[in-house]
């Protein structure tokens, strides 16, 4: 059963975990994938075994552009995970993907969590983290064979005014 170590964590991604195994298989090919319903056609995140909009059990993984914007963020100064202590302060971002925004309900979005990293896969500096900032998926290949999707600032102009916390 595929087990990977990352920052002191033991990640278990068995093949039978069809909610998640495909996500990491696509990531290894440097593609960000979400689930698509084979009946109503809607994309969903998180990638559960049924469509929350039509209850269909038929699905496929489908690659998406990996582009989107920061919907919310947090800068972790105190981590409860010992393996992340050398990373603080590190940003965790909630990214809203460009695909299927506001569908099937006005509030729905494909919102994925990851770290915001720089070109060396180090935590992005907090003064560069802002709601509304455009991002793209990047893929962190670990020596053990696991690839972890992350996001980085894409440099595209923001579509809405940026917001960040004022000190």
């Amino acid at each position: 059963m595929p087990t990977y170590e990352y920052r002191g964590l033991i990640l278990n991604i068995p093949e039978f975990d069809q909610e998640h195994a495909g996500y990491f298989e696509y990531a290894r090919r440097h593609q960000l994938a979400v689930k698509r319903c084979l009946d109503c056609g809607l994309l969903r995140w998180e990638p559960g075994p049924s469509c929350p909009f039509c209850t269909s059990l038929r699905w496929e993984w489908t690659p998406v552009s990996g582009r989107g914007e920061i919907y919310s963020y947090q800068i972790v100064y105190h981590t409860v995970l010992p393996g992340f202590r050398d990373w603080v302060p590190y940003p965790i971002v909630l990214v809203e993907l460009d695909e299927q925004r506001g569908v099937p309900t006005p509030g729905y979005g494909l919102r994925i969590t990851a770290n915001l990293v720089d070109e060396h896969f180090r935590p992005e500096r907090e003064e560069r983290v802002a709601i509304g900032a455009r991002v793209e998926a990047v893929f962190m290949d670990l020596p053990n064979g696991l690839t972890l999707p992350q996001f980085t600032l894409s440099g595209e102009p923001p579509r809405t005014p940026l917001w960040r916390h004022k000190e």
């Binding site: 278990n12 975990d17 409860v80 006005p106 972890l148």
Partner: protein, 406 residues
């Protein structure tokens, strides 16, 4: 039209152990002490308690052990998985068990060495478990603690409504003043807004260290029985007007899927509980609002209609929630200052307030004689409260609520 079960059940006994960070004993020993104290408070013998309910996160002692230790032979017992938002829900489950005739008197307890054994903050035991399932999408990104789970909604609230760190700090300031009149409180020292803002960041921009609740070792117990039985017991009965939960927002375990992500389970629970009770927010005299973080208080006051959505920051910093204010909140100091119990102590406090028996520094508190001089080492009894509300919360999506009257 109020609900047919309104006022049919009562809380008749409450009890707790010391709130500490060094219990030096098992969750079993603490649970037994809390249940015994609640039975004594109610004037019940073990033979008169025939139901036990507990909740846990794999960190407690099952109710069968507690029953054996105290000589209780249960007709009904159950140990439910859950943390915050369980207290109110289990009070409802106890009412249901009694209503269908499974038992007649239920002791509900929560026992946890929340500092010396399993810390909720996630350091130690919880952090070292293997990662599988949906946690693969969060923990590899250094996202695990409850605060981190809540933080995206909190940051959005600051962006959408302009909620400030200073407003949040006022929750801690107020609760610390309340705790300063509570001999049981683990943290009794009043703090200032500056103290909160100068404490180190835990997760920016939503919480400094002093915006976060305590982690403590303690057990707590609440006993529920029918109003008919309650009239013959030791204490003034405290009537359960309404209870709801655990309920959830949309996509319970994926609370960011549907905006507004600042919308919490309480949004859906609020109309149900007020309809069941036959009262509205304006009728509530005191509140017990789950304060895992200063921000949880803000979002709950909005969800339950104590203020408009977006105005929670104003509500908590306006003086309304302090002793002497229009609607005091967490008069014991709550999770931020008294101790962390996953919701139990805020219900216990409201029961005592409605009895007129806040166990403050007034020499005559047992007889309900209070000075109403609020401040450190003084009184914390609210003047003549009639109706109290508790709002429970666990994870960004779930909630529960309870309305009590004297």
């Amino acid at each position: 039209m109020a609900h047919p079960l309104r006022d049919k059940y009562c809380i008749v006994g409450v009890g707790e152990t010391e709130y500490s960070q060094r219990s030096g004993r098992t969750t079993r020993a603490m649970a037994v002490e809390a249940v015994k104290k609640a039975m004594d408070d109610a004037g019940l013998t073990p033979q008169e308690v025939d139901g036990l309910l507990s909740y846990h996160m794999g960190d407690s002692t099952p109710s069968t052990a507690v029953a054996s230790d105290l000589g209780i032979r249960p007709n009904f017992f159950m140990d439910v998985s859950g943390g915050g938002s369980s207290t109110e829900a289990l009070i409802g489950l106890a009412m249901g068990a009694i209503e269908v005739g499974m038992c007649h008197t239920v002791a509900i307890y929560r026992s946890m060495n929340g500092y010396t054994q399993v810390r909720i903050g996630g350091t130690g035991a919880r952090a070292s478990t293997p990662v599988s399932g949906s946690e693969l999408l969060t923990r590899p990104y250094g996202l695990m603690s409850p605060l981190q789970r809540f933080a995206f909604a909190f940051t959005r609230h600051m962006m959408e409504y302009g909620t400030t760190s200073e407003q949040l700090a006022m929750v801690k300031v107020v609760h610390s003043r309340h705790a300063s009149a509570n001999p049981k409180a683990f943290k009794k020292e009043p703090v200032t807004v500056e103290d909160v803002l100068n404490s180190r960041w835990i997760v920016k921009p939503v919480a400094h260290l002093l915006d976060c609740c305590l982690e403590t070792d303690n057990a707590t117990c609440i006993i529920v029985t029918s109003a008919e039985r309650a009239r013959h017991l030791r204490q003034r009965p405290i009537y359960i007007m309404a209870v709801q939960g655990r309920g959830s927002r949309t996509f319970p375990d994926n609370p960011w899927a549907e905006a507004p992500i600042t919308r919490i389970g309480g949004h859906y629970i609020a109309p149900r509980i007020f309809q069941m009770a036959g009262v509205g927010p304006e009728d509530i005299d005191i509140t017990g609002c789950y304060d895992a973080f200063t921000f949880t208080v803000v979002l709950q006051f909005e969800a339950y209609g104590f203020c408009k959505v977006g105005e929670g920051g104003y509500y908590v910093s306006s003086g309304i929630i302090q002793l002497g204010g229009k609607r005091p909140n967490n008069t014991s100091g709550g999770h931020l200052c008294e101790g962390y119990t996953h919701g139990m102590n805020m219900v216990i406090e409201n029961v005592r307030q409605l009895r007129g028996q806040a166990d403050d520094y007034c020499p005559g508190w047992r007889e309900g004689r209070h000075t109403y001089q609020y401040g450190p080492g003084g009184c914390r009894q609210v003047r003549d409260p009639e109706i109290a509300m508790n709002m429970g919360w666990g994870t960004p999506g779930y909630g529960s609520a309870l309305i009590l009257r004297r």
